[in-house]
Point group: C2
Chain length 390, copies 2
Amino acid sequence: MENFVFQNPTKIIFGKGTESQVGSEVSQYSKKVLFHYGGGSIKKSGLFDRVIASLTEAGIQYLELGGVKPNPRLSLVHEGIKLCRDNDIEFILAVGGGSVIDSAKAIAVGVPYDGDVWDFYVNKAVAEEALPIGTILTIPAAGSEASIGSVITNEDGWYKRPINYDMLRPKFSILNPALAFTLPKYQVACGAADIMAHIMERYFTNTKDVDLTDRLCEATLKTIINFVPVVLAEPDNYAAWAEIMWAGTVAHNDLLGTGRAEDWASHDIEHELSGIYDVAHGAGLAVIFPAWMKYVYQHDVKRFAQFATRVWNVDYSVWAPERAALEGIRRLEDFFRRIGLPTTLNDLGIVDDRFEEMASKATKSDTATLGGFVPLNQQDIVDILAMARG
Amino acid sequence: MENFVFQNPTKIIFGKGTESQVGSEVSQYSKKVLFHYGGGSIKKSGLFDRVIASLTEAGIQYLELGGVKPNPRLSLVHEGIKLCRDNDIEFILAVGGGSVIDSAKAIAVGVPYDGDVWDFYVNKAVAEEALPIGTILTIPAAGSEASIGSVITNEDGWYKRPINYDMLRPKFSILNPALAFTLPKYQVACGAADIMAHIMERYFTNTKDVDLTDRLCEATLKTIINFVPVVLAEPDNYAAWAEIMWAGTVAHNDLLGTGRAEDWASHDIEHELSGIYDVAHGAGLAVIFPAWMKYVYQHDVKRFAQFATRVWNVDYSVWAPERAALEGIRRLEDFFRRIGLPTTLNDLGIVDDRFEEMASKATKSDTATLGGFVPLNQQDIVDILAMARG
């Protein structure tokens, strides 16, 4: 186990009806907020009105900024920054999924900065302060509700880039599993793939002696594997949604990575895919992750065999660990297909050959590599994309 | 799953040599601190000198208060409160195990209070503020390094009582697994029983649909079960100690109880045992917990069967779940014995029959009950103690 620092002060308010607490939570920080959201789904569901009612009851003024899209755009972030500055807004409330929360984080870190917020995403500048944010989560997937990260897409060149700062963890996140009842099935499945990828990016590590966190990872993965098929069949099963929603937060609040080197190559490759083709992040991960696994598993057959045995109940033979390792990857692919996800670029309808461009964008320079489990150069990434073709 | 709020802002600084960071951490809060510790072991090991060096380097003045005993005493807490008041001390640094940290928390909450701090422990008053504290942990056991709790023993009547306040979570806790190398084997085993009990008090719940936290509990229990025998055989095995130390914190930082009703009857009964007989808390738990299990398992055979199957790898027969349930309890007792713990009152040398007195102290009133899984009245507690006799 490596030395580590772990601190996650986000207040999680979890359960039925908890969105009614948003006003009193926000009022601890500001009496004037930006209410940031995506499309019309929160209006249709009535959530929008409930949030407004709670804010109003707490005497909080709000300005609205809707319109966040999946793979949230820099242009809307710029708009939000201007709105906050022009109106002396000091708190951002994000109501939605990871895209809305990531967009809110970008606005939060952009408001106090003189330059273009994109500077932080391309490592031209280091952020030193940010407005506080709070969230009401409607989609278990990105884990942004308790994470330090924000991923934004710059339409000028379709670059999709992350930043990570401790100060970006939300002050509070309200998680009501019932808000997920109305999600389209495909979005549920994409969220599941994203949650699983957050865990697997941490699981496949070269760090030795990480048994507790291995087991915590496996526990969280099994919860997703067991309950996603349940909510696909019964969209209003609160108990199953509660398991998935809490697992989605635990998967990415940094606990599962404590003391471990993490990888993140699959995420980085996928960011180029969804940046260029605007596919759903989770769908891209369901394609990239199995291909990455097949490409790297021989680097540590034992770890892949443990994954297969403990997560997928693969029968382990001490005489054939590689067989178990490969069977684990196969069951992951089967699972993705079972919940309705693509597992090849072909399934995504991506026939174009922009592999070199993606590899080059992902590594950022010709000599740089991606990931820690097996450092990947541009040719490796091209080979992984070719394996993902199907 | 029940609605819940989870927030744990304690900064965990984990790993080799991390005690050297104590000065810079403390200096974020105060330039004058109470350095609270137990016996001479931290002087023998050199830790005392390293802490002083780090504090001095950071320009921090300190007053010493050593002498904390297992089952920490109210009289020393009173002394600490007076020391802090007389010297305008605004931060308490606890260096030691759970007893030292619990004593520091009691001092922290006593300093700003006009009355006797014991008022909080007997629910005569509610605490509203506390000094901030930080810790350097030397014994993985109590989990106090990230918990809201403090347990103090009042020598006047040998009452052992807990308090729980969010504000008592340490600001930071430094966890260096190497500091545990020199622990006596019996203390290691007692710590293991305490950690396991913290998990099991949460695991045996009546709350339905808590699969994620069930699995996180099982993951953490298995880590203790796998690595405690390793450190008993190889006291300087850093990797194994790291698993145990992190598991000890995760066991009691409230994550594993999210969304679940908890029990705590075994802890409460044990507090009376160790209050009266001054036995080690972990040893008392190793006696009480299996007896409690045998007394209540029929209330939910499935849950005990799951515990047996997932934690102890008991072969499960769908035709005989009760056999699995009982086998799980048997394996827990076997494990406690294997690591050198008593499992009966007889083993502890307790032949005295003060069962009624303990039952009465534990429930506090004749009509009150203890615990949530199966609410226990005084006669139930007497029966459990009788089962524990051996």
